[in-house]
């Protein structure tokens, strides 16, 4: 494998519908926040070129629909991810409580070689909405992240562009580390395989 090959880092952004995944991504890549983004249907990605420790890498940020129902088809994108970003809304307990499910779902579907060391980053979004609306304290979120292998945690606002750049810097760095560690293990590029017809392929694994 050519050593100076360009680096493409694949990042998956997950979390309940409406927590602000699309908004965060657009704030980071396009530097703007719009209240008129539509609910995401299907999947899409944005790319951004960034420098991590003097290396130029391309981040490919995958945004999928947050509604659970759509996940069964969306999981194909999880393959080959270098980092997974879990987003919740600090003003919604439910979106915090489902973080574990999202994490598990990701690990099951992406099946990274070493699940324990796979990099996750957690973002508590919408911190701009005021303390009185807040449901999840920073402390609680910190404790949660500590308990699950020290996942880095950021409190963000896609609206006011708070901590977005910082968070994605860490995301990029962790993704690059992951990619480099994977490189030693040979080529693991799984072709994307969406299970269109479950019965036929008989995969009930």
């Amino acid at each position: 494998m050519a050593s100076r090959k360009k680096v493409l880092l694949k990042v998956i952004i997950l979390g309940d519908s409406g927590v602000g995944k699309t908004s965060l991504m657009n704030q980071y890549v396009n530097k703007k926040f719009s209240t008129s983004y539509k609910a995401t249907i299907g999947a899409d990605f944005l790319t951004k070129e960034v420098t991590v420790d003097d290396r130029i890498v391309t981040l490919q940020l995958w945004d999928t629909a947050g509604q659970e129902r759509f996940q069964s088809l969306g999981v194909a994108f999880y393959r080959g991810a270098d980092c997974c970003v879990l987003v919740y809304d600090v003003n919604s307990s439910k979106s915090f409580e489902t973080l574990d499910s999202w994490r598990d779902e990701f690990l099951i579907q992406a099946s990274p070689r070493d699940p324990d060391s796979f990099p996750f980053v957690v973002l508590g979004n919408k911190v701009d909405m005021g303390e009185e609306r807040r449901m999840i304290t920073q402390k609680r979120a910190h404790t949660y992240c500590q308990q699950r292998g020290q996942m880095p945690y950021f409190e963000t606002s896609a609206k006011d562009n708070v901590n977005v750049e910082q968070a994605f810097e860490v995301i990029a760095r962790n993704a690059l580390l992951q990619e480099e560690s994977e490189e030693y293990g040979g080529d693991f590029s799984d072709p994307i395989n969406i299970n269109l017809d479950q019965d036929r392929e008989g995969c009930a694994c």
Binding site: K6, A43, L46, Q67, R69, N91, K94, D104
Partner: protein, 846 residues
């Protein structure tokens, strides 16, 4: 050079002297000396935070101002205000004499003294439409030809407008977040690309805000999102003629000659010749910059400029950059460059380059298509545009027998004429459907309100107007009661806690989605009433958070849940209309997208609601928990492409895209996100007729795919690229031609099925009429062979094409899924296929 010769050919404007007077009256800036240097140029316009990106690294970016200045040396200047309008087509009155007095400039912030810096900022913040009354003087700037070693900074330059040949304009877009412009001089060189960091630019932010406030129109010149570059072009237009090239939308020609206009506006052939003249001979003539080949320099400057350069060539070669290196049409200099390993790496690095090229190439093709017609699009035009190897389709069928008159929309008068005095249909249902399928309904005169309830199956076709009135009265009543049920439950606290929790959760989802649905439509745009629910994230004490139409949407969606959820025994109200097939879907994203056009057209919640329940009868399979309906459709699409375009199919296989997931969004909400609003209404009413097939939307999908098949096959090399490409088709697809192409495809499909059936039946061989497809992958691999070359023995034998084709038909397999496409009956899921909620291994459930 040709353009120079021809530009001086233009006679000086007869009215030029008249305009020249006006500036004098203004007070004459020439009497005011520049404070520091004693000399200066008049700053007419400036825009801050315009960057040069000398390297790909953001830390090397240089912030500066783009500015329009008036040279002192020019004895007189014209003032735009006096001109009747700013018509850009009035070429003659803006001659080059005039244009040479004005310079377009870029100056880095760092080179400016404090005073001058504030002058630039001041003029920028003036944000005026006309030059400032007061004279703002700034030091003159080095003229472009020696910008390299100027003392102002490595990149500062100014250029008389008369020296500008064209400007490449690239508005900001997803993936390319800064809009930029590149100035091409008449001497053939390109100045560094200027990137508009709009989010840092105070004046642009203000202008954007003002636009949104005043006209609710966030869009600029070309209908794209408003950005800083728009303003520059607008200002240029005051002094020179700026024509947007019709063939190459990103090229703006400055004071173009007839030839230029022809070259950039006509068919592809003339474009080729013209372009190679302008760009490449021009490039060669450029005096070499210090130490660097100008082309290499160009390539190094910015990523987009690089792409732009490649794209320029690709547009006429229609080949990928790889092929270009060996293409004889490409000037040797460029060829050498493309083979240069360094350039190769840059090229490799830009993984989106191919995508970009692909889109570009398609844009050109489409543009010249549009050029060619310049009138109402007829079926014949589609046929004409298909005469390349694109698709190899016989669209003749679609064209024949459908006079263009049939493609005119049905208006209220025509519609009323379908009914007798009792309001009963006096022509056949099929006749109506045929008309609506081909022509659509008049968007202006309210006929949709009348016709949609029929098309959606709410009204019986053979009912009288009296019957319909009675029906609606009862339905209105039912709607209010259904709505009352959930309403009461929510405020009563009577429901079981888990039930209450479920409803609250559903309500939250609906809330979030309605506020994200079609807010660009005036109906849903405003926020003029206070939000009724303080727990909503959209509630705001200080300001109103919603509008009455969004509130109606929420109510209708909740009422749909009420209707779609099987009632528990004690809830059952005896005289309430019962939904015989509650699907218990819950609210699923996409539903709001389906409802909003209905509501917007009817502006009557009860009518919209009941029509929605009918629409959902066919759409609910898209929303079931198992996603079985979506899988089935993607699967059918897979088979359909395999049958109709095996070559494309093989390519899609190669790039891991036969999951057809990139059509997910289109199928889920029936292209709601791909077409603009008015086209969505038109498309849906066609689809509702089930005129050819209840699943005609799948033929729309193939039509879209076919339109782009060459680009996809030539340029796209991975699933992610295909997905991105298809996602970004959004809002670029021409509906009329897509409908016609889809119709042609349907007929072709129908003929294929007939041919297969005939062959299978003829030698009464006991072959099963329908052969099941085997494992997808293997079967598909053979797909190409089977269809193109019979048993594989004579595969790819073009001479025997006729013979093998008929053999191919024999080998083609019409699966039950495909056969179903011939049916006009609405497809619904098996009820038992959807047994209960499937919980995922991870515990995610809905």
């Amino acid at each position: 050079m040709t353009h120079q010769a021809s530009s001086s050919r233009d006679p000086p404007s007869p009215s030029a002297s008249f305009y020249d007077v006006s500036d004098d009256e203004e007070g004459g800036y020439s009497t005011i000396a520049h404070a520091n240097s004693g000399r200066g140029v008049k700053l007419l316009f400036s825009k801050s935070k315009v960057y040069v990106h000398p390297t790909p690294s953001a830390k090397d970016n240089i912030a500066g101002f783009v500015a329009l200045v008036q040279q002192k040396s020019a004895p007189l200047a014209s003032d735009e205000r006096e001109r009747p309008g700013t018509s850009s087509s009035s070429q003659s009155k803006k001659d080059n004499d005039d244009a040479s007095k004005y310079l377009l400039a870029w100056v880095p912030e760092s080179s400016l003294a404090q005073d001058d810096f504030s002058t630039y900022v001041k003029v920028d913040m003036k944000d005026a439409e006309t030059p400032p009354k007061q004279s703002y003087l700034v030091p003159p700037l080095p003229v472009a030809s020696y910008y390299d070693d100027s003392n102002v900074g490595p990149y500062a330059f100014s250029l008389p407008l008369s020296q500008i040949y064209s400007i490449l304009v690239r508005p900001p877009s997803i993936g390319w977040w800064f809009g930029s412009i590149v100035i091409n001089t008449k001497s053939g060189s390109s100045l560094p690309a200027l990137f508009f960091h709009d989010s840092e630019c105070e004046s642009t932010i203000l202008q954007k805000k003002r636009r949104q406030r005043e006209s609710f129109d966030p869009f600029g010149e070309g209908g794209d999102l408003f950005w800083g570059g728009d303003v520059v072009i607008r200002w240029l237009k005051r002094y020179v003629t700026v024509e947007r090239s019709t063939a190459e939308p990103s090229v703006y020609l400055v004071n173009p000659t007839e030839e230029d206009l022809y070259g950039f506006g006509q068919g592809r052939k003339s474009l080729e010749g013209q372009k190679s003249d302008n760009n490449f001979q021009g490039q060669k003539k450029k005096p070499p910059g210090p130490g660097m080949d100008p082309l290499t320099k160009t390539l190094k400057e910015t990523r987009w400029k690089l792409l732009e350069s490649f794209a320029k060539i690709t547009t006429f070669a229609r080949k990928t950059a790889d092929d270009l290196a060996n293409n004889n049409n490409v000037p040797p200099q460029m060829r050498r460059l493309l083979q240069n390993p360094e350039v190769q790496t840059i090229q490799d690095e830009f993984d989106s380059a191919r995508l970009y090229l692909a889109r570009w190439a398609m844009g050109i093709a489409e543009q010249s298509e549009r050029e060619k017609r310049q009138r109402i699009f007829t079926a014949r035009d589609v046929l004409d545009t298909e005469d390349t190897d694109v698709g190899e389709f016989e669209l003749l069928d679609a064209v024949e027998g459908i006079p263009d008159g049939k493609r005119r929309p049905v208006n209220m008068k025509e519609w009323k004429g379908y009914f007798d005095a009792q309001g009963r249909l006096q022509i056949t249902e099929d006749e109506v459907k045929e008309r609506v399928f081909h022509g659509g309904l008049d968007p202006e005169d309210g006929v949709r309100k009348e016709a949609w309830p029929f098309l959606l199956g709410l009204y019986e076709w053979n009912s009288t107007s009296g019957e319909r009135r009675a029906q609606m009265n009862s339905l209105r009543d039912q709607y209010i009661r259904l709505k009352g049920q959930w309403w009461e439950r929510m405020i009563d606290d009577q429901a079981a806690p888990e039930q209450e929790e479920w409803w609250r959760e559903q309500k939250n989802r609906i809330e979030k989605d309605v506020h994200r649905t079609d807010r660009h439509i005036p109906l849903f745009e405003g926020e003029d009433i206070p939000h009724p629910d303080p727990t909503s994230p959209f509630y705001n004490e200080q300001s109103p958070g919603t509008n009455v139409h969004m509130e109606q949407m929420k109510d209708m969606l909740l009422t749909y849940l009420e209707y779609d959820t099987p009632p528990s025994e004690q809830q059952k109200s005896p005289d309430l209309l019962v939904n015989s097939h509650p699907q218990n879907l819950g609210y699923v994203q996409g539903m709001s997208d389906l409802l909003s056009p209905l509501y917007a057209v009817f502006q009557d919640d009860a009518l919209a609601f009941w029509c929605f329940t009918h629409f959902m009868q066919r759409m609910s399979r898209n929303f079931v928990r198992s996603q079985a309906g979506m899988r089935a459709q993607l699967n059918t699409l897979d088979q359909l492409v395999q049958l109709l375009d095996p070559k494309l199919y093989v390519h899609l296989q190669k790039v891991d895209s036969t999951n057809f997931f990139f059509f997910f969004r289109m199928l889920l909400v029936w292209y709601k996100r791909e077409f603009e609003w008015s086209d969505v209404l038109r498309l849906w009413e066609s689809l509702w007729t089930d005129y050819y097939s209840s699943q005609f939307h799948l033929f729309i999908a193939v039509a879209i795919l076919e339109k782009h098949r060459d680009v996809i096959m030539e340029h796209l090399r991975g699933f992610d690229e295909v997905l991105k490409y298809v996602n970004e088709l959004s809002n670029t697809i021409d509906l009329q031609s897509t409908l016609i192409r889809a119709e042609g495809l349907f007929k072709r499909f129908e003929k294929t099925v007939q041919a297969v059936d005939k062959k299978n039946n003829f030698p009464a061989a006991p072959t099963p009429e329908v052969r099941q497809r085997q494992g997808k992958g293997k079967d598909a691999e053979e797909g190409d062979k089977l269809t193109a070359g019979g048993q594989g023995a004579s595969s790819s034998n073009d001479v025997n094409h006729k013979r093998t084709e008929s053999q191919a038909d024999k080998e083609k397999v019409i699966s039950p899924e495909l056969r179903l496409l011939l049916s006009r009956k609405i497809v619904m899921l098996d009820e038992n296929a959807e047994a209960g909620a499937r919980t995922r291994a991870s515990g995610l459930k809905d």
